[in-house]
Each structure stands twice: as structure tokens, then as C-alpha cells.
């Protein structure tokens, strides 16, 4: 059946205001009598606070308040634990302001409110804190060892959580194996660094007791719940609004960051609006990271390259607190097998506290680490067997005939990784064709003879998307004929409003311009989880389809009486319900909406209005997949890698809007390339973050990111009406693995082993130098 909107490259409705400077980002919000806030942050990674002197700061002209944990009182209780894990030993969450202890450089110690941010910063310099500095635990392996300085005094070790997952019997598999490969791999991620930092504006109306909070959060509904608890206020008196948000990528999800509580608290205390805008330097310290995992991996296989077992024990740097639970570790081990059949699997992760900023998901949430581990091991196996890396993969791929195939691991929300609605062999073949793989391979020796060291590599990924618990969408037809759509999850650039409008307009046969969408504000829709884990199209899209279907059904039922026809004889065309084949005999959706006003009629058991709200709670998750291919040259005199060609073949099922999908793949891949070659958070041994500016932490520019060729291979999901599978993170998941592999392939004559990402030119040149010596 032909579609009008779904599947089309519809221009985004979000763009006009963004292009003309008329958008409303958090710092664009200006309220009468508004004052500004700034956070005093700990300069030490581990210290006891003996005293905080605020008198001098308070005396500065223009300063309205200085808050410490004392002033917060009960509001300064521990933040909720978002993801429990049966393996938790010491779950520890953070508070809004440090109370007696600081555990990472950047931890919030006090909050200043003044007439301007400029005066705030003057005041911060006047606050005197007496710290008793202690030895921090910084490196994840050192922190896990017995006798390491404790990040939390009330624990006996820094190992926060230890969880083992097993399927089959790896011990036996390793006994019988003809080939055993052992590696220690160190994939590191970095920081999301959206171009817009975080911010909060709060307005507390003293007369009514109503609080409105504008917040750059990806999870406004959850934020409201936490605020209500901490501020001891009814949820009904709080509205949380995510305005236009300049990128999220996971870092804008917390329930909640300190400032999300401090700002409303201060607004209520002062009886005037308060604004806090994070600056870039504090974003590096005060917003979450995703960091290092150290994987000790053993792979067992037969001589002809068939996988027998995989065992992976890994240390996961959690930062100083674990409010998100060890979610990145959970996601990492959940998709670790990728598209391969591995009959025996064992993973063990140890989430470790370190005196560094909190670790939480950044686009991919541990899955880039997982893909790096699996794909590197496959390449090592190929090397050991002197087999082409592509052939080794072919021999182990789950194929459509095997589906549904239980991979043996469990992803977040207790979702088993079950391969279905997928075709990994087809993805591989499509990639090889796009790369002209065999032809390129043949050119490599000749190129080496003239000093060109080129490598070609592929890297698969399977990612969990569309995860539970749920989202809801309301679809409401107005008497005006406009269709109002509302949902709880907000956008940070993904074009949700456009995508939802496409889905609803299609379902109700109206023009796109008739559909108006509101999202991410609790006064428009108060239920939802949020925008994360590549789930909006899957879950929100499905809820929109279900709600639209119910509206359509109700419209037909209402019209049946009017038109004196049976429901089965009616159809919805161009926003009108008509008798099939009789266009003249019809009634518009708007007219039906007017009639369903209780002023006109109210049938018992029938809800007024032409509207429906549907919630979708998926069973488990969807699993998208893809394969990245890269051709990389390495300058062996300088270690500088140059990507010559980059291809992505991906399968996200059906696409609501291909332009939006491609944008997500391109953007994700760029962040993945950043993580492969450029982005590294560096701490010294005292826990000081040395990379706190854009000159130190290197985001790739248009000169570092190549043209990326995308091929869509769409095997629609059979588990939701749109057939979509989620696409936001995939690009970031495959890129570090393929970039490292291509460099390793280019440097094969030197026997280079890329066991870690990111790879700097000096890392690469060191491999070349060592080979020449050794």
C-alpha cells in the first residue's frame, strides 16, 4: 500500500525556528526578576570538608544566596538508584551538594545565586573551603585492588558490583578447543560534549506554590518525580519542560544532576526565578562521562574457525557514584556476541568506584566497548588461523534460517538477545560489494612497496534498542480540524516532532500541517521514560500508531450513526469519514470532534472528545545491527591515520524519515570516529582531569570526518506496527572497532596490535617503532 508520509524525506518542522534564530534553548529563557546561579566545585578528588566560609561571598554586592548542604536540609538526600543489579555489593548514589566528603574533582560543594553569572564567579572565588585532602583512587585496576584508597568510607572495597552471566559451559569449551586466543583489551569512551551544555531555569510562584522548571533533560517526567520528592511538593504543582535542547547523547539524562534540584530550591527560597547555565569547563567536570573498561578475554575456536566459547572478565570504571547502576557494563555484555553463534559464553564484570566523575551512558552505552572486544577477537582469530577476517566472520554468522536465535546473553531490562528480523550475511555481502573488498585487498602489497600502508577492515555490531519500560502518546482531533499529538519524551535534535507528525498524519489521512506535536513537557503529557537507547521511534512511534488507530476507530463509529451506514462500509479519506466510494456523503474529523463534545452528547462508558491515549510497553527490546567498513592509510613516519573510505551498511528496519535516519547514522559514526582517533579524557594520578577545554579534548571537525557512504538494508521488525528497530546509536557503536582494525591491518607488516582505543598518532608510531626494534 502506498504511503503518503511514512518513509518519505519530509522536511523537518523543527528547522524554521532553528534556522532563523527563533528557537528557545535554555539560555534563551528570560524571566522578570531572574537571577543567576553558579556551582562551587571541589578541586580535590578525595577530601573531607571541615568547613565552608561563605560570609565574604554573601557580602559581595549583587549576591543573593550561598547554599551549602546545611541549607538544603532534607532536600539533600541521596538521589535514586536508576538501575538495580543483582550483583550490587555497594550501591552508592550522589547528592545535590557534598556533605562532609568530596569524591571527585568537580563535585558540587556550594551554590551561589547573584545578579549575573559574572558576579557569581566573583563570589565563588570568595568562598573558603577547608579541605583535608586524601589519597584518591583513580586508575580502575588500582582502585579494584585490595588496599586501594576507598572512595566510600562505609565500604570494604571499591568494587561496587560483581555480576556473572553464563550460558553453556565455557570451562569445558576451552578444554577441548584446538585454538585459544587471549587478549587484554582496553576500549575507552569519552564524553558526549554536546555543543550546548546543561542548564536549568526555575520559576516558583510564591502565591500559588507552583513551580515551573525548564531543564535540558532527556527525561523530564522522571525529573519531576524526583523534584517532587526532594522538595516535598505535590507533583501536580510542578511542571518540567525540556525546551529546545542542543544535543544530548545520553549526558543529559540523570535523575537528577545536582543543579536540577539546586536551581528550583533556590528559586523557591528566594521567591524569584533562578537560571543556571553550565559553562564548558564545568561541563567536563560536572557532567557525566563514559570511560574505560579493561577486558580480559579468552576465545576458543576450532581449527577451521568456528567459535566454541568466549569468556570476558572486565573491569568497569564507574566513577565516584553509581546512580545509573552499572548500565554500560550490562549493555556491553548484553550484545557482546554480536551477530555470531557462540555456544558457550561467560561474562563477569566488576564495576569499580574511582574518585572521578560519574559514569553514565554516552551514545552506545557500553556497546561500542562490546563491539570493539568482539570484533578485535575475531580479527585475532583470523590472524592466528591465517584466514581472511571476512571468512572467519562468515563461518560464524547467525543467518536468517537460524532465527529466532537466542544468543545466550541478556541485555538491559532483562531482555534476552534474540536475533530475529535480521540478515547479517546480507549486510556483510552488501558491505563487501560497496568496499570492493577483494579488489582492494589485492592492491595492498603493491601499495606497500611504494610506501603506502593501507588497511581494510570490517566490524559488525548488534545493538539493543527500543527498550522498555514504555512511552505514551495522546492523539486528539480538535473541532478546528487540527490534530494535537502529545508525548512525554523530549527531543535534542532527532526530529521527533516531524517523525510523529508523519506517523499520525498518515494514519488519519490528514495533511502534515494539520498535525501539531508537543513533547517533553509534563503539562502536556505527564507520563513517559525519556529519550535514550534509540527507543523513540520504536516505542513512541508504536504508541502513536495505536492511539491513531483508536481515534480512527472512534471516528468511524461516531460517523456510522451520522451517515446511517455500517462501520464496515465507511472509510477515512483526506481527513473525512465517507461511505466507501461516495465522496459526497462524508463528515470531517473536525466535525466529528465537535460532535463528541459532551455538550452535544455523552454516551455512558464513552470518553468525550475524538481522542485516544495509548501506552506501549514493549516485550523486551528490538535489536538493530550494522556493519562498518573502513579503508585507512597510515603514514608510517608520523603515525597519522587517514580514512580513505568509510561505508556503513545498517539495518534499522523501516525508516519513518530516511533523511533523519541518515543524519543519525552520520552523526553517530562521527562520534565513533572521534572515539577512535581523537577523544580522550586524561586524568593525572591525583584525579585531576587534564582535558577540560576543547583544545585538550579533541572533537573531530569536518576535516577529520570523511564522507560516509550509507547503505540501508531493511528487515522490518515484525514486533511493532511500524516495523522500526531504532537507529540513534548504531553509528557510534561500530566505528571505534573498525577504525582500530583498519589501522592494525595497515600495520600488519609491523605486527601491530591495536588493543585499545582511542589511538593517537603517537600510539600508532610507537607500534611501528617497537616493531622495527623488536
Amino acid at each position: 500500500m502506498a504511503t503518503r508520509f511514512v518513509g518519505e524525506r519530509i522536511k523537518r518542522r523543527e528547522d524554521l525556528s532553528l534556522l532563523t534564530g527563533r528557537a528557545t534553548f535554555i539560555d534563551d529563557i528570560v524571566l522578570p526578576r531572574m537571577v543567576h546561579g553558579a556551582v562551587l566545585r571541589s578541586p580535590h578528588a578525595s577530601a573531607r570538608i571541615h568547613s565552608i566560609q561563605t560570609a565574604a561571598a554573601l557580602a559581595l554586592a549583587g549576591v543573593h544566596a550561598v547554599l551549602t548542604s546545611e541549607q538544603l536540609g532534607d532536600a539533600n538526600s541521596d538521589m535514586p538508584l536508576l538501575n538495580d543489579d543483582p550483583g550490587f555489593i555497594y550501591p552508592r548514589t550522589h547528592r545535590a551538594l557534598a556533605a562532609g566528603e568530596v569524591r571527585f574533582v568537580g563535585e558540587a560543594v556550594a551554590f551561589v545565586v547573584a545578579d549575573s553569572r559574572y558576579v557569581c564567579e566573583d563570589a565563588l572565588a570568595l568562598i573558603e573551603v577547608e579541605y583535608e585532602v586524601r589519597e584518591p583512587a583513580v586508575d580502575v585496576i588500582a582502585a579494584a585492588a585490595t588496599g586501594a584508597p576507598l572512595v566510600h568510607d562505609d565500604t570494604e572495597s571499591n568494587i561496587a558490583c560483581r555480576t556473572v552471566n553464563e550460558s553453556g559451559n565455557t570451562a569445558r569449551a576451552f578444554e577441548d578447543a584446538e585454538v585459544i586466543i587471549r587478549e587484554v583489551l582496553r576500549p575507552e569512551r569519552g564524553a558526549a560534549q554536546p555543543i550546548e551544555t546543561r542548564g536549568v531555569v526555575a520559576d516558583y510562584e510564591t502565591k500559588t506554590g507552583r513551580l515551573t522548571v525548564w531543564d535540558t533533560t532527556q527525561v523530564p517526567v522522571g525529573a519531576r518525580t524526583v523534584l517532587a520528592e526532594k522538595l516535598a511538593m505535590p507533583e501536580a504543582d510542578i511542571t518540567v519542560i525540556a525546551p529546545d535542547v542542543g544535543g544530548g547523547f545520553g549526558v543529559k539524562i540523570m535523575l537528577v544532576y545536582p543543579e536540577e534540584l539546586l536551581v528550583p530550591f533556590a528559586a523557591r527560597m528566594l521567591g524569584r526565578p533562578v537560571k543556571w547555565i553550565e559553562d564548558r569547563q564545568e561541563h567536563f567536570l560536572g557532567s557525566n562521562h563514559e570511560r574505560l573498561m579493561v577486558h580480559e578475554v579468552t576465545l576458543a575456536a576450532t581449527r577451521d574457525g568456528r567459535l566454541l566459547g568466549l569468556s570476558d572478565t572486565f573491569y568497569y570504571d564507574s566513577g565516584a557514584y553509581c546512580p545509573y547502576g552499572p548500565i554500560n557494563a550490562i549493555c556491553c555484555q548484553g550484545i557482546l556476541p554480536g551477530p555470531y553463534k557462540i555456544p558457550n559464553l561467560r561474562t563477569e564484570y566488576l564495576a569499580v568506584y574511582t574518585n572521578t566523575p560519574i559514569v553514565s551512558p554516552y551514545r552506545g552505552a557500553g556497546q561500542p566497548h562490546g563491539a570493539f572486544v568482539m570484533e578485535t577477537m575475531m580479527n585475532r582469530l583470523a590472524g592466528e588461523l591465517e584466514m581472511d577476517p571476512v571468512e572467519v566472520r562468515r563461518r560464524n554468522l547467525v543467518s536468517p534460517a537460524d532465527c529466532p536465535y537466542d544468543a545466550g546473553t541478556v541485555f538491559q531490562n532483562d531482555t534476552p538477545l534474540i536475533h530475529q528480523d535480521c540478515d547479517y550475511p546480507a549486510e556483510l555481502e552488501k558491505l563487501l560489494e560497496a568496499l570492493d573488498y577483494d579488489a582492494v585487498l589485492r592492491t595492498l602489497p603493491g601499495l606497500r612497496d611504494v610506501g603506502v600502508y593501507r588497511g581494510i577492515a570490517v566490524a559488525f555490531y548488534v545493538e539493543g534498542t527500543g527498550i522498555a519500560p514504555y512511552e505514551g502518546v495522546e492523539v486528539r482531533v480538535e473541532p478546528t480540524g487540527f490534530v494535537h499529538v502529545a508525548t512525554g519524551y523530549p527531543a535534542q535534535g532527532q526530529g521527533h516532532h516531524t517523525a510523529l507528525a508523519q506517523v499520525v498524519a498518515e494514519a488519519l489521512t490528514v495533511d502534515l500541517e494539520q498535525v501539531r506535536v508537543q513533547s517533553g513537557r509534563t503539562d502536556a503529557f505527564a507520563w513517559g521514560v525519556g529519550t535514550l537507547s534509540s527507543r523513540s521511534a520504536v516505542i513512541g512511534g508504536t504508541a502513536a500508531v495505536l492511539a491513531s488507530a483508536r481515534v480512527r476507530k472512534k471516528a468511524l463509529e461516531l460517523a456510522a450513526t451520522q451517515l446511517e451506514a455500517a462501520v464496515d462500509d465507511l472509510e477515512l479519506v483526506s481527513g473525512c469519514v465517507q461511505v466507501k466510494g461516495v465522496p459526497g456523503h462524508s463528515i470531517t474529523l473536525g466535525e466529528l470532534a465537535a460532535q463528541s463534545n459532551p455538550i452535544n452528547s455523552l454516551e455512558p462508558g464513552v470518553e468525550p472528545g475524538l481522542r485516544a491515549t495509548e501506552y506501549h510497553r514493549p516485550e523486551g527490546a528490538e535489536f538493530s545491527s550494522g556493519i562498518h567498513g573502513a579503508i585507512v592509510d597510515v603514514d608510517i613516519e608520523t603515525g597519522v591515520p587517514t580514512i580513505q573510505k568509510y561505508v556503513v551498511v545498517h539495518d534499522c528496519g523501516n525508516m519513518i524519515n530516511p533523511a533523519i535516519v541518515e543524519g543519525q547514522v552520520l552523526g553517530g559514526t562521527a562520534q565513533g570516529i572521534g572515539g577512535a582517533f581523537y577523544e580522550k579524557l586524561v586524568f593525572n594520578d591525583q584525579g585531576q582531569l587534564l582535558t577540560t577545554t576543547f583544545m585538550d579534548y579533541l572533537l573531530p571537525t569536518a576535516m577529520e570526518i570523511p564522507e560516509i557512504e550509507i547503505h540501508h538494508l531493511d528487515r522490518p521488525s515484525t514486533r511493532n506496527p511500524l516495523g522500526v528497530k531504532g537507529v540513534g546509536e548504531g553509528g557510534a557503536i561500530g566505528a571505534p572497532a573498525v577504525c582500530a582494525a583498519a589501522v592494525e591491518a595497515a600495520l600488519q607488516p609491523f605486527g601491530a596490535r591495536c588493543n585499545a582505543v582511542p589511538l593517537s598518532p603517537s600510539d600508532i608510531l610507537a607500534m611501528i617503532n617497537n616493531a622495527k626494534i623488536g
Binding site: 572565588a125 586524561v682 585538550d696 598518532p761 603517537s762 610507537a766
Partner: protein, 302 residues
């Protein structure tokens, strides 16, 4: 990241600026292009009591090219120099190096003099000025003096400028129109500071003197380094693999590399050698006459 308080002064003549400098001394900072200073103000890494804004002193922005010399006012914008027709013709090394400095919006405000007076050890312009045999013209309320580029750059962020002196202009002779030049840089991203860079300017000989060269490396030491030994090797014979290797070794020996987040010392050392060799090769390719002259008259360096 907002600056701390300061007093703001915007003189319109050099004399006025110098009086302010004399009055405020170390309490004052000169604001040229602002592309280095304002970030430091925003981070509160510096908190001067007084900012002396030089952008209103029109005479400092002049670019003069007369016959065999250029004289660039210290406040000339990098972008203006980069697009100046005669500078492009006469000093292609300078123009090429400028294209490695950050990005156009930075060069639209950044000044030649500001970058030189700031003297970041990984900046491109200081090395290029040494390669071009430039002189810095320094002015105080009482005197004017000329300092050759080679002596101007002392240590990171420190130059020969006295606290009461202003860099007013940079002068350099125009290299012979057939002179070869080369510039090679390694940086982490396009536009970033150099991990290592080399500026090479060949100086063709004439009846009075033998051909010579200037090879200057940056990013690898406390200040840009002229590597005389490499210059001798370049001038002593035809290009060969052995000579290439010798130039690299000479540069590696000469540099005292520092280590930072972006690269360890050994990397900068090795990369400096590679950049110097590549820049020399480019220079030789561009300066067709040079080889002929050199082979006729081996001898002293210019």
C-alpha cells in the same frame, strides 16, 4: 567562564598606549586580536587590573611592501596578511603557514604581532619569522629598538619585550622570487597547534655569497629552533636518502622536546625530523635554481 573585573583603556595612538603601559606596568595586559588573551580572561587564568585595547590604533595595522622589504604593523590581522597580494607573491612561506593557524574566524581578528608577542611554543608564526630573517621593532616611551626574530622568542609565552615596550612592526626582506620554501606541520586536527612543524626558506646565493637556508622547527622546544646543522647538510650537496636521514637526525638532536597531553616528547622529536625533511624536499622542488647554485659554489651559509 566570565572575566574578572578590569579597567578598560582604548588609546588611539602608540604614544598613548606606551604611556598607559608605563603607568600600569605589570598590572596591565595588551589586547591585540584577543584570540589568545580573551580565552585566558574567560578562564580567569589571568586577571589583569587594566586592559589596554590596541585595536583603535590605526597606524599599527598598516602593511607596507616596498621594494625588497615588507613592514607589517603589529596589529595587522592575520587574514589581511594572508590575502595581501604582494605578501602572497613575495612571502609564500608566511601565507602557507598562516593557513595552518586555527580557522578563518580566528585569523580575522588575530594579529601578526599578537601571535608573535604571545609566543606559544607550538605556534607557527614565530618559526616562520625566524626563517624569513625578520626583525621586530619594539617601542617604549623613550626609545625604539630592533631585535632579530632569532633573539626575540625567549621561552614559552615570554619574549624580549620589556614590560614597558610595545611590538609595533615586523620587517623582513623579500626572499628572491625564485627562492624555494617549505612548510610542513603535524597537528592533531586541522588548525590545531603544531605537535611539530618546520619552516624552510632557501636563500639563493649571488656573486657575493653562497646559497644558504633557514630551517626552523617549532612545537618541539621552549622556543622555535633554528637548526644550523640541518641547514649545512641541506646546502652541502644534492638531495639523497642519506642527506634526508642526516637532516632528520640533526633536527632530532637539536630539539629539547616537551611532553603534553597530545604527544610525548619522543614523538615530537621524531616528527620534527620528518617535518623538516619534508619541508626541505618541498623547498628544493620549488627553488629550481637553488640546486644549481649550490652545486656550483658549496660554502658558507647565508
Amino acid at each position: 567562564m566570565k572575566p574578572a573585573q578590569f579597567l578598560y583603556r582604548d588609546p588611539v595612538t602608540v604614544a598613548e598606549a606606551l604611556n598607559l603601559l608605563a603607568e600600569h606596568g605589570e598590572d596591565a595586559r595588551l589586547l591585540a586580536g584577543g584570540q589568545s588573551l580573551v580565552p585566558m580572561l574567560n578562564f580567569r587564568l589571568v586577571q589583569p587590573a587594566v586592559i589596554i585595547d590596541l585595536n583603535g590604533i590605526e597606524e599599527l595595522g598598516n602593511i607596507q611592501v616596498t621594494g625588497d622589504w615588507f613592514k607589517i604593523g603589529s596589529m595587522a590581522r592575520q587574514a589581511a596578511v594572508e590575502s595581501h597580494r604582494e605578501i602572497i607573491r613575495g612571502w609564500p612561506l608566511l601565507v602557507d603557514a598562516l593557513r595552518h593557524v586555527a580557522h578563518p574566524p580566528i585569523r580575522n581578528r588575530g594579529t601578526i604581532g599578537g601571535s608573535l608577542a604571545h609566543n606559544d611554543p607550538a605556534a607557527e608564526l614565530p618559526a616562520v619569522m625566524i626563517a624569513l630573517r625578520a626583525h621586530m621593532i619594539l617601542q617604549s616611551a623613550t626609545a625604539q629598538r630592533t631585535v632579530p626574530a632569532e633573539s626575540f622568542f625567549v621561552s614559552p609565552l615570554e619574549t624580549a619585550l620589556a614590560p614597558d615596550e610595545l611590538l609595533v612592526a615586523i620587517e623582513a626582506p623579500v626572499p628572491d622570487s625564485s627562492a624555494g620554501w617549505g612548510f610542513a606541520e603535524i597537528s592533531r586536527r586541522h588548525g590545531d597547534f603544531a605537535l611539530a612543524a618546520a619552516a624552510v626558506q632557501l636563500i639563493p646565493g649571488d656573486t657575493a655569497r653562497a646559497p644558504g637556508a633557514r630551517i626552523v622547527v617549532t612545537g618541539v622546544a621552549e622556543r622555535p629552533l633554528r637548526v644550523s646543522e640541518a641547514e649545512n647538510i641541506l646546502c652541502e650537496g644534492a638531495w639523497s636518502a642519506a642527506r634526508d636521514k642526516a637532516i632528520r637526525a640533526a633536527v632530532e638532536t637539536a630539539v629539547e622536546p616537551f611532553e603534553d597531553l597530545h604527544a610525548p616528547g619522543w614523538y615530537r622529536q621524531q616528527a620534527a625530523g620528518v617535518m623538516a625533511a619534508r619541508a626541505c624536499q618541498d623547498a628544493l622542488m620549488r627553488g629550481a635554481d637553488f640546486a644549481a647554485q649550490r652545486d656550483k659554489k658549496p660554502g658558507a651559509v647565508a
